[in-house]
Symmetry: C2
Subunit: 226 residues, 2 copies
DNA sequence: GTCTATAGTCGGATAGAC
DNA sequence: GTCTATCCGACTATAGAC
C-alpha cells in the first residue's frame, strides 16, 4: 500500500522547515551571522531551496518576519478581542481596565519567557537596534496594535488622556519592565546566579511585575485625580 | 621649522581612530555586518592596520569592548564614589538613599539618550542578545558594579534584604524602564511620532522615570514595613 | 520540483616593498 | 611602522542535470 498522502505538500514542508531553522539561526547569530548553508543544514533542506522558494536570503528573512508577526497576533488575538470588548462604550469602572492590563502583562511575561519564543524576541530586539524592512512588518502587524490597546487601557484606568504623549511614555516605561527580562536576560542570569529562566523564575518575575504595575497605575491615577 | 611633535604617536592615533570607527560600525551593523574595509575607510586608516594593531577583526572588537567598559566606568565613576560614601556605615535616613537612586537614574537616562553613546549601547544590547567574550568584559567591569550598588541603595531605602533574589528582580525591573527607551527606541519614535530623542524628549522621559521610581520605591517600602 | 556543481563576489588576513 | 597587492576561504546565487 502507498503511504497516506501528506497533509502538506513536500514543498510546503520544505518552506516551513526553512523558516523555522532560519528563525533559530537568525535569532542566535543575526542576519549576517547566520549563513544559508547552516540554515539549510538545520532544516535538512537543500541550499538551493532558499533562493528557489524565497528569492534570496533576504527574502527568507522577510518570511521569518511575517511568521513572527503572525505568531504574535495568534498568541495575542484572544487578549486583543477581550480588550476591544472592554474598550467599546460604555465606559466601565476602572477596576475592569486594571484587570485587563494585568492579563496582558502576564501573557507578555509568559510569552517572553517561553523558550520557543527566545529566537523570536531576539530577532525583534535586533530589529529595534538596527531596523530593516522586517521591523516595519512586525511593528505594523503586531507591536503597534498591542501598544495602542495597552495605552487605551492605561488611560481608562488612570484617567489620563489616551492621546497624550506622556501617557504613551508611561506605558512604554511599564512595558520596558517586562521586556528587560528578555533583553537583558544575560544580566539577570549573571546577577541572580540562575542557570536559566524556568517556571519558578517566571513566577517570581510575574509577581514582581504585577506589583510594579499596580504601584505605577495607582501612582498615575492618584497624580491625575489630585 | 618642524611641526610640533604630536601629543600622541601616529600609531596611537591610528588605534584610537580604528576603535572609534569600529564602535560606530559594530554598533550600527553588528559584529558580522560591519566589514574591516568599511571600518578602515571610516577611520581613514589602512585595512592592514587592523590585523597589525589588534591581531584580527575579533581583536578589534574586544578592544571596543574594553573601551566601552572604561567609558562607562569613567562616566559613572563620580556617581559610584558618591554611592560608596552613602553605603558605608553608619546607616543613614532612607531619604538619602532615595536621592542617590534618583541621581543614578538621571545619569543613566542621560547617558542612554546621548547620541555619542548610541553605538555603545547598541553593542551592549547585542551582546545581551548573544553574548561573546565582549559581554563578560563589559559585565564584569561596568554593569555588575553598577547593579550591585543600585541594589544596595534600593535595599537601603525600602528595607528589603539586599541579598534576596527578589530585591534584585525589583531593581532589574526598575532599570528596565530606563533601558527600554534605548533598546525599544524605534518603537518609542514610531508611537510618539518623534523624529528623534532630543533634549526636550529626554526631559519628558526623565520626569516620567523619576515618578515611576518613587512610586515603585514607596510601594516596596510600604510592602516591606507592613 | 529538487539536487549537484559551480560561478561570482566579498571579506579577512598575509607577504613583502618601502 | 605603514602601505599595496594578493591570496585564500566563505558565502550567496545560478545553471543545468535529473
Amino acid at each position: 500500500m502507498l503511504p497516506p498522502a501528506p497533509l502538506t505538500s513536500r514543498g510546503e514542508q520544505a518552506k516551513t522547515q526553512l523558516v523555522a531553522a532560519a528563525m533559530t539561526l537568525f535569532g542566535e547569530k543575526g542576519l549576517h551571522g547566520a549563513t544559508t548553508r547552516d540554515i539549510a543544514q538545520l532544516a535538512e533542506q537543500n541550499i538551493a531551496a532558499i533562493p528557489y522558494y524565497f528569492g534570496s536570503k533576504d527574502g527568507l528573512y522577510l518570511a521569518v518576519a511575517h511568521y513572527i508577526a503572525d505568531y504574535m497576533l495568534r498568541a495575542l488575538g484572544p487578549v486583543f478581542a477581550n480588550i476591544d470588548g472592554l474598550l467599546a462604550p460604555p465606559v466601565l469602572e476602572p477596576e475592569r481596565y486594571r484587570q485587563s492590563i494585568h492579563r496582558i502583562f502576564i501573557k507578555l511575561a509568559e510569552l517572553l519567557s517561553q523558550s520557543e519564543t527566545l529566537h523570536l524576541s531576539q530577532i525583534i530586539s535586533r530589529e529595534q537596534l538596527s531596523p530593516t524592512a522586517a521591523h516595519a512588518i512586525i511593528h505594523q502587524k503586531a507591536i503597534a496594535p498591542m501598544h495602542r490597546r495597552i495605552v487605551k487601557l492605561v488611560a481608562g484606568y488612570t484617567g489620563c488622556d489616551p492621546n497624550a504623549t506622556e501617557t504613551l511614555i508611561h506605558t512604554h516605561a511599564m512595558l520596558g519592565e517586562v521586556l528587560s527580562f528578555r533583553i537583558a536576560r544575560e544580566t539577570v542570569l549573571l546577577q541572580t546566579g540562575w542557570s536559566s529562566i524556568g517556571p519558578e523564575q517566571i513566577t517570581v518575575i510575574q509577581q514582581v511585575l504585577l506589583q510594579h504595575i499596580d504601584w505605577l497605575l495607582n501612582g498615575m491615577r492618584a497624580a491625575n485625580t489630585r
